[in-house]
Symmetry: C2
Subunit: 340 residues, 2 copies
């Protein structure tokens, strides 16, 4: 176990769930610190029946911290993490900043736990839209080698943080009442609308969010030959991302085989009975740690294609749960390393 | 011109817009009748400064009608149309019932106006999700032959009629207030949710809505070799369907060529400047008759692939506008036939 751990960005949308999960899963540590920007310093947050004061994010905080789980904007992660590592802290980072660094393992514990051993102080957790897709791709890749993926996302506003949730709620009320609303974090109104842009223009007409799905998937599966064409769309849903995924594999995977593969994969749950209107939706995947798969069917446009629909709670497995699972992997690694 | 035309289903979501368009476009006819179920009979509806009483849908209504534009449930279309045709009426049908009948042309005026000549009393207007996709496919097919399409839809509730709109509005208010709501027309709550099922299970795990996109596209483009893998998803948007489309063509179409082709195609409008956050969205395509294309980019997973995003007002070009345009084609055909 670790003597002292820290949650960085403890007051944010993901940080809040990290705190809940650490408490609920009884994460083994002697001391826990909550860290955030100066704006939140001093704020009292509950943990395991106590109240803990939020500390401001500054280097010396990490002198006694062994392990930090951090969910901050990219620029914050860029600035504080190298210093925290120099002070002896291992950082599990939710931000996008370090993910593609060759010295930083990008880890989904059910998919590539082996990668964690290569860390040099930083371990990155993938982008939410990547994680759920890669969880579903992994068993197909093992069984039949994934060659190509076409994915269209239906992404919830919680991926944009607490301001995203405020915008959806406030904007939708205003839209229903015919009143104006000043959006905080979207370029266009999200109420009763779909916005086919997440992130900024990045590569040949694809956005940064879309290219994350390409590069992170190739890194996690350690296979640059997997080709991916993503379209990322924000939809007026509070929480849980949907993804319409089409996979082409080297040999044909039938719908029945795919279902068996998904059912046998830890972290995945199959909800698939179209005759009884059963499939994953944001409303039935909320506050769940699994990634849910439904609408499994063979592609009628390509012999080796398989189509399915996938929903996961982007704040949970897409962020907080995955980071806490990485921390638990580290605990087990330390335990084994020390012969406990 | 026609002496007497009728709008059947005149009180519905699509019928209302058909009435507006006939008035706004000054459709040439001496007399117009509004027809609906017995429930609406006698209701007064405005038209060109007058009020017209709704007549109940019964056979004799069509004795003096030359042309009917009809938007009703499939079963209603099945039952009344053959009799109306026997009474000498040509029917432009928005329902799904007659579309795949070999004797019934399925027409998008900008795409296959020539098909209209083969009609034997019934002309069908395609499903909303098909129409906007086929409009975009047509210039690509002409230039480079479309071989395969992968499409994921983001469909608005107005496609489910007035009850769909009531459900979205009422359900969303209730969800924001934490109150219960009894849905009229969706199997699951649509408020702040995505439902990956439209229509009923139809073929190998695909829904009826998805198979419409396959069969109708092949019929309209008169090419059964075009393969299509559709995923149809209902999203909490009031009106205007979005579609994430990936097309594979026989030869490569660059993004620049695709843009030129789209720009040169009547009925299409290109809104595509990602650097300036410009692309089609439900909120900027409302009450427009064009189909809008954006996010045009080359597929980074396939040499001959092209990806784009497409939005159209499903009540307008997806339904009412297309039907009225078919009626206008018929008027021109009669004019030419009679040497006027």
């Amino acid at each position: 176990m670790f003597d002292c751990i820290a949650v960085v960005g403890a007051t944010g949308a993901v940080g809040t769930i990290i705190r809940e999960l650490l408490e609920a899963r009884k994460f083994p540590c002697k001391k826990i610190k909550f860290v955030a920007s100066g704006r939140s310093a001093g704020k009292m947050l509950p943990f395991a029946g106590r109240e803990i004061a939020v500390e401001e994010l500054r280097g010396p905080v990490f002198d006694e911290v062994d392990l930090a789980i951090s969910s901050t904007p990219d620029e914050v992660a860029r600035d504080f993490i190298p210093d925290a590592v120099r002070r002896g802290c291992v950082v599990i980072d939710e931000s996008g900043y370090w993910r593609m660094d060759p010295d930083v393992p990008l880890v989904i514990p059910e998919v590539n736990p082996q990668a964690i051993g290569r860390h040099r102080g930083i371990i990155a957790s993938p982008n939410c839209s990547t994680t759920q897709m890669v969880q579903a791709l992994k068993p197909l890749h093992n069984a039949a080698r994934v060659r190509r993926v076409v994915v269209s996302t239906y992404q919830a506003v919680s991926g944009a943080g607490l301001a995203g949730t405020r915008d959806l709620t406030g904007g939708t009320r205003a839209a229903l009442d015919g009143e104006p609303y000043q959006y905080e974090c979207f370029a266009h109104p999200i109420a009763l609308n779909c916005i086919p842009q997440i992130g900024s223009p990045k590569h040949q007409g694809y956005t940064s969010e879309e290219m994350k799905m390409v590069f992170e998937t190739q890194k996690i599966l350690e296979d640059d030959s997997i080709l991916i064409c993503p379209t990322c769309v924000r939809v007026p849903v509070g929480n849980c991302h949907g993804e319409s995924i089409l996979v082409e594999t080297e040999r044909k995977v039938t719908a029945a085989e795919a279902r068996r593969l998904f059912e046998a994969t830890p972290g995945l749950a199959v909800l698939d009975d179209l005759d009884n209107n059963l499939y994953p939706m944001p409303i039935n995947c909320q506050r769940r740690d699994e990634t849910f798969i439904g609408r499994i069917r063979e592609d009628i446009s390509c012999p080796n294609g398989l189509a399915f629909w996938c929903v996961s709670d982007n704040l949970r497995k897409g962020a907080a749960t995955n980071a806490v699972q990485i921390a638990e992997l580290l605990v087990r690694g330390r335990g084994e390393g020390r012969g406990k």
